[in-house]
Structures are given as structure tokens and as C-alpha cells.
Amino acid sequence: MRIGDAKQTYEADEAIWTSNTQKLWFGLLLLILLLFPFMADSYLLYLGCLVGIAVISTTGLNILTGFTGLISLGQAGFMGVGAYTVAWLSLNTGLPFPVTLLLAGLVAAAVGILVGLPSLRVKGLYLAIATLAASVFLHFIFAEWESVTGGMGGLSLEPAHLFGLTFQSDFRMYFIIVTLAVLMVLAARNVLRTRVGRAFIAIRDRDISAEILGINLLRYKLMSFALSSFYAGVAGGLFAYFYRVVTPESFPLSMSIFYLAAVIVGGMGNLLGGILGAAFMTLVPEALKLLTAALTPFYPNAPVFMSPMLEIIFGALIVGFLIFEPHGLAEIWHRIRRFFRLWPFRN
């Protein structure tokens, strides 16, 4: 059982690290993340990179949907903006990757602000539809603005580089992706405990009350959109460096739904939930692929059923979590933790 946990100041209550044990666990996690690529085979490494990108994007969407209560179906579109920015910059300017990724985030954030502008007038589901419209327009631009985006054929780009070092392999990309993922999640955690973060949460809980409390709704809603699409833009940029080809079909509407699902399955308004959700939703299809491969010798038809099964499982996860575990994986995690923390007592 955990003792000596009484907090006497607001600072202590708001602190990111509340105990030494927590710091220890976090250090351990970092160590594992650092050692992982040296022990993992190429497939696990590839999965690690995918999860890292998904974590960044999901964290961004979590800020917008989970903490500010603005539902967005445009996340894939914003990622596309980031990816095309990186691709175009690396083809036309040859800037090193930290600069291109930063610009990718900023361009996506600018687009996010533009999309967020109606958010003061339209709310809830109407806003979801507005972001849906934005993603339709973005897809149209990706496909038709051929001089910049290369049309339906898309763009292929050179590997990321910095100081003469090129990041061609998954092994090297892993370090960029995971470093950024850790930094960006920590940054999100930090923002959310400031005035800005509390304003987001106030808007989520009741926007009219928040306005009466003196929160400038337009400003903070746009800030949330900008922040969220900045994350999406960086994730999209990493996506571009990782696959090194960007096409309009890389960012379909189903991808936006995937990230919303990750936020929901993980737990809305919970950063840890976003991370768990991103990892879980990325790994479920892979687990199903492994299962299919294992079953194929016995049922030669298994691969045919994999893609429909995936659709069904994806939908069932969304519906199931919303009905039976609305607070998502994060809640399960907390329940486990509570059990150990209270042990040997029951409740």
C-alpha cells in the first residue's frame, strides 16, 4: 500500500513526477525503449516505428477531442499536410529533418487553425462534419495540385538526414520517432497542467460556463486545433520519412477514424490512454496477421477472411469499449494499479 502521499501544495499536486518511484519506472521505460532496437528483429522494429508515429498523432487528437471536447474527423488530412510538407521540402530544399519536421508541424497547425475557425459557430457533431469537409478538400488538393503534390502518383523522397548522417533504415528511424514521441507526450503533459490546458478542459466540460469564467473561446479552441494538428503534422512528416513515399491514398478517411478509435479505446482525456490506445490499435491487425499465418496450414482459406475479420474486430472494439468500458484501456490500467496500491486491502 502506498503511504506518505499527502500533498500540501498545488505545485506538488500538479507536478508531473509525484514520487521517486515514478521517476524510477519512467527511467526504466526509457531504458527499455533505448535497448529495444538492439534486441528486436526487423519486424518488431517496424512495429515499434508504427506505434511511435501513432502515439504522436493520437496524443495530438487526444488534446483536441479528449481534452477540449472538439471531435475531429480531419486528423489524417492534417497528417497528410505534414507528410506533403516534408516530402516537398526534402525534394526542393534539402533541409535536414529537424527543420522539415518542425515546418511540417507548423504548416499543419496553420491548416488546423483554418479548419478550426468555424468551431466557434458550429459545435459537436456539426464540427465533426466541418472537419470531415476539410479532409475531403485536403484529399482533393493532394490529388489535384500536381505541381506540388505530384497528383495521384504522389511524391517519393530521400531518407531523412542530419549532419551528413542519413536515416535510411528502420533502426535509425526508430530513434528519431521514439525520441520525438517521448518528447511530445511529455510536452503535452506539461501543456495540460498550465492555464492553457485547464482552459481546454473547462471548454470540454461546458463551453458556455468556460466563457463566463473569462476564457476566450475562439482563442483557446483555435489553440487546441493548432496544437493537435501540429502533432498530426509531425506524425505525418515522420510517416513520410518512414515510408519515403506519400500519395493521396496514404491518408484516407478511415485513418482519421482509426485515430479517433485509438483515443476512445485508450481512454478519452487521458494521455496514457492515448498511448495505450495507439499501441493497441496498431498491434491488433498485426496480431491478426500472425494468427492468420498460423492458421493457414490448417485452413487454406484463412487469408481470405483476414481483411473482413479485421473490419469486424475494429468495429467491435469501438462499440464494445464505448458500451462496456467507456474510459478505455487507461481505466483498466488504473484498476490494476489500484489493486497493487491498495494491497492487501480490497478496496
Binding site: I129, F137, R206, G315, I318, I323, P326
Partner: protein, 292 residues
């Protein structure tokens, strides 16, 4: 400008718009009664169309038996969805409920691929084949007869809303749930019936649209066009669904014919964006006043 061509395209677009209006009516019915935005409506249409395929193609029933069976199947599906997956979400935030319908859409796509594979299919032709001429304008028979059947159901629905007990109960529930309860209306049953009848309209439209354009698991995309229709018309307005349905159907077809297929979606979404900025609650929707 070739006016004859424009006339023919417009006519085809208006006929398609009639079907959109029917689907939008189903959508609005569900929204009015239960305040649920049903992202799965395209998939319910698709499911009914596949049922028709199974009855008419697989079991070789006459199309005029298969059509009602498929439509009944689609309505039952709507009822079951409401009972099992929407009812438990009563009182949850709208975001969660919408996500449930998105999840349902995904499940339905998976089921369809599971049963009928992902390959595109053609529905057996059951509509008359003689070309239809309205004045000098030619109209493809499938579209024309689809429009006729669709409008017939549309008129039945409008009359039902206006005059029957069930329609009055539905409108009462939509305007004030608590009052409807206290007047002895079985609100739960109204919720369920709204889903059944909404899915019925969608199912019929689904078979008719699939009969003209073919069928594949991606058929549910049409749900996006319907979404545009209901937002433009106003989520809770039947009149809006009709007007916007016809208009969006026309616009989509004309944009597709003159600018190319890739402009169909952006053209309608431009209208959507403009409407969202000028009248966020749609052309004919009610403007809800929020209080703290």
C-alpha cells in the same frame, strides 16, 4: 452550351436527388426521434442491397418478392442495432454515440465482405428497360423507375408522419420527450420504430441505387453524400431533407458530368462548408438555444 445535354444531366441528377431525399428522410427520422447521427446509414443501405442480391441472385426469387424481403431485412437490422448497441448509449455524449455508429458501419462492411467477398457485384436487373423520354429529354430507365418507386415510399412516409398515430407519436417524441412520456407515449418503442422505419427507407433506396450503380463493400461511401444532404437541409427538418436531397443529387451529377468525377465530392462539400458558416443549423433546421 448544349441545353439538351444539360437538361438530361439535370434530370438524371434530380432523379438521383429523389433517392437522396428518401435516404435523408430515414436519417432525419432517426435523428429527430433519438438525436443520434447515424454514420452507418450507408452501410445499412449496402446490407439491404446485398440481401436483395442474395434473394434475387442467389435464391433466384422473383425480384418483386426479393425487394420487399431485402427491405424488411434491412429494417430488422436497424431495429436490432437500436436495441443492442444504441440503447445502452442512451444519455452518453453525442461523440460516443456517433463513434458507436461508425463502429457499426465497420462491422457491417466486415460482415458483407465475409459473406459476399469484397468483389464488386451486379444486381439482377428488375426494372423495365424501355428508355424513358420526358419531352425531348432521355432518362436512363433504371434511374427513372428507381425515382418513381422511391418517391412512392417518400409520399407514403410523409402521409404517415402527418396523419397516423405512430407519426404523431414520433413527432411528439421529437418535440418534447418528457411531455410525450407523460402523455402515455411509449418513447422506447418510438425510438425503436424510428430506427426500423429509417432503415426501411434507407434499405429501399440502397437496393435502387445499387441497381443502377453496382454494389461493393465500398458502397457505404454514399453515406457521406447523405450526410451533406442532412446538414445542408437541417438535421431535424423533413422539408430540408427533401429540398437538400434533390439539390445535392443534382449538383453532384452536374459537377461530375461537367468537371469530372473527382469533383463530385468537393462540389457538394463546398456547399456544405458555406452552409455551415452561414446557417450552422442548416437551411430549414431549428436553431437550438443553449443555456448553462
Amino acid at each position: 452550351m448544349d441545353w439538351l445535354f444539360f437538361g438530361e444531366i439535370s434530370l438524371a441528377g434530380l432523379a438521383m436527388g429523389g433517392l437522396y431525399a428518401l435516404i435523408a428522410l430515414g436519417f432525419v427520422m432517426i435523428y429527430k426521434a433519438t438525436r443520434v447521427i447515424n454514420f452507418a446509414i450507408g452501410e445499412i443501405m449496402m446490407f439491404a442491397a446485398y440481401l436483395f442480391l442474395a434473394f434475387a441472385g442467389g435464391m433466384e426469387l422473383s425480384a418483386w418478392i426479393a425487394l420487399p424481403l431485402a427491405v424488411i431485412g434491412g429494417s430488422i437490422l436497424g431495429g436490432v442495432i437500436e436495441k443492442t448497441m444504441i440503447r445502452p448509449m442512451l444519455g452518453e455524449s453525442p461523440i460516443s454515440v456517433v463513434m458507436v455508429t461508425i463502429g457499426i458501419a465497420s462491422i457491417l462492411v466486415g460482415l458483407v465482405e465475409f459473406i459476399w467477398t469484397a468483389d464488386p457485384q451486379l444486381l439482377p436487373n428488375f426494372l423495365p428497360r424501355e428508355p424513358v423520354f420526358i419531352g425531348p429529354l432521355y432518362l436512363a430507365p433504371k434511374i427513372a423507375y428507381g425515382f418513381l418507386i422511391g418517391s412512392a415510399l417518400l409520399i407514403v412516409y410523409l402521409l404517415y408522419f402527418r396523419f397516423s398515430r405512430g407519426g404523431v407519436a414520433l413527432r411528439a417524441t421529437a418535440s418534447d420527450q418528457a411531455a410525450a412520456y407523460s402523455m402515455g407515449i411509449n418513447v422506447r418503442r418510438v425510438f425503436n420504430l424510428a430506427w426500423v422505419f429509417g432503415s426501411l427507407a434507407a434499405s429501399l433506396a440502397g437496393v435502387l441505387v445499387a441497381a443502377t450503380g453496382g454494389l461493393s463493400p465500398q458502397f457505404g461511401i454514399i453515406g457521406l453524400s447523405v450526410l451533406v444532404v442532412v446538414i445542408v437541409g437541417g438535421l431535424d427538418s423533413i422539408l430540408g431533407a427533401l429540398v437538400a436531397g434533390v439539390f445535392i443529387g443534382w449538383l453532384e451529377t452536374v459537377a461530375g458530368a461537367y468537371l469530372g468525377g473527382e469533383y463530385r465530392m468537393p462540389a457538394t462539400f463546398v456547399v456544405l462548408a458555406v452552409i455551415l458558416v452561414i446557417r450552422p443549423y442548416g437551411l430549414f433546421g431549428t436553431h437550438e438555444i443553449e443555456r448553462v
